[in-house]
């Protein structure tokens, strides 16, 4: 029953994620680029810009993250797994992919624990806040949808009863 997604929908989502990542990278490069030039391969150009190689890595990450999102929000996954499981598994897979990218592309020194703590903190904060906002918004919308559907049902019932009498 789900509308079939095509390659253009996927590309649109990838580019949207990539664009968001690039905006954040621009901000970080501007703020911390010079200080972290020697520590991270992401900021090897310092405050003067983002390397083409880094942009390529981020594009790859956007493709994988979008792919993971598509898998866990597919009709098939929705049929066999509750929403909470899907979100948890999606989160685990996304973290795993990001950690692999950090290690493979040396985004920061692997043995530097402070960097890992900061990464975990940033990720957890961003994820926690976004999930909280999304779930509150969703819950409010669901409540309103149910209420309005009930109201419509009653209206239809009255209409039918009116027709009968």
């Amino acid at each position: 029953m789900e509308e079939r997604k095509n390659i253009f929908d996927f590309a649109e989502n990838v580019l949207c994620t990539f664009g968001f990542m690039m905006i954040l990278m621009m901000v970080f490069t501007f703020l911390f680029g010079e200080e972290t030039r020697t520590l991270s391969s992401m900021f090897r150009l310092g405050g003067s810009g983002i390397a083409l190689e880094t942009m390529g890595q981020y594009l790859g990450l956007a493709v994988l993250i979008t792919g993971i999102r598509y898998i866990f929000f597919s009709e098939r996954a929705a049929k066999y797994m509750p929403e909470l499981y899907r979100i948890c598994l999606m989160l685990c897979c996304s973290v795993l992919v990001i950690v692999l990218f950090i290690i493979i592309f040396k985004w920061f020194p692997v043995l530097m624990w402070e960097a890992w703590v900061m990464f975990a903190l940033c990720f957890a904060t961003c994820f926690g806040v976004s999930v909280w906002i999304m779930s509150v918004k969703n819950r409010m919308e669901n409540q309103k949808l149910e209420e309005n559907l009930e109201y419509l049902k009653e209206k239809w019932k009255e209409e039918q009863d009116g027709k009968r009498s």
Partner: protein, 146 residues
């Protein structure tokens, strides 16, 4: 094809009479369209034709270029295309839920918004259907949420 219209102010009910040598697919389409005006639909099951009450249809979908109408317990094939039905059934609170599906709003038991902006509806027979993002906003508007 000859079309005759006879007006009679004494007539109690509008009557449409079709005289033909045999039923052609085009004629069947015309009859199906006329049935909709009478809140009925023509459906085929196991080679037999059935007249269905529109309000009893839960949803309509297409598979292998065929159109199927789902009631609580049965599935019937329609000779009309989905886009033709969409137009005709709009006034009966049917809405497009995806490229291949039309849902009867009045047969929705429960509705739930998904995190990815889609809607998941539970029909009165317990079956769950998805309203794609493209059409979900229409339902939200219809329910006064947007």
């Amino acid at each position: 094809m000859k079309i005759s219209i006879h007006t009679d102010s004494q007539a109690e009910e509008t009557e449409i009479q079709i005289t033909c040598r045999h039923l052609t697919p085009q004629l069947e389409k015309v009859i199906s369209m006329l049935r909709i005006l009478d809140f009925k639909m023509l459906g085929e099951k196991d080679g037999e034709s059935y007249i269905l009450d529109i309000s009893k249809i839960l949803y309509i979908d297409t598979a292998d270029k065929k159109t199927f109408m789902y009631t609580k317990d049965d599935v019937y094939e329609s000779c009309l295309k989905l886009y033709e039905l969409e137009e005709e059934l709009k006034e009966f609170d049917f809405f497009r839920a995806g490229k291949s599906c039309i849902i009867n709003l009045r047969q929705i038991q429960a509705i739930r918004a998904e995190l990815d902006r889609k809607l998941r509806v539970t029909m009165t027979n317990g079956e769950q259907l998805t309203v794609s993002r493209q059409y979900a906003d229409y339902v939200r508007k219809k329910l006064g949420v947007k």
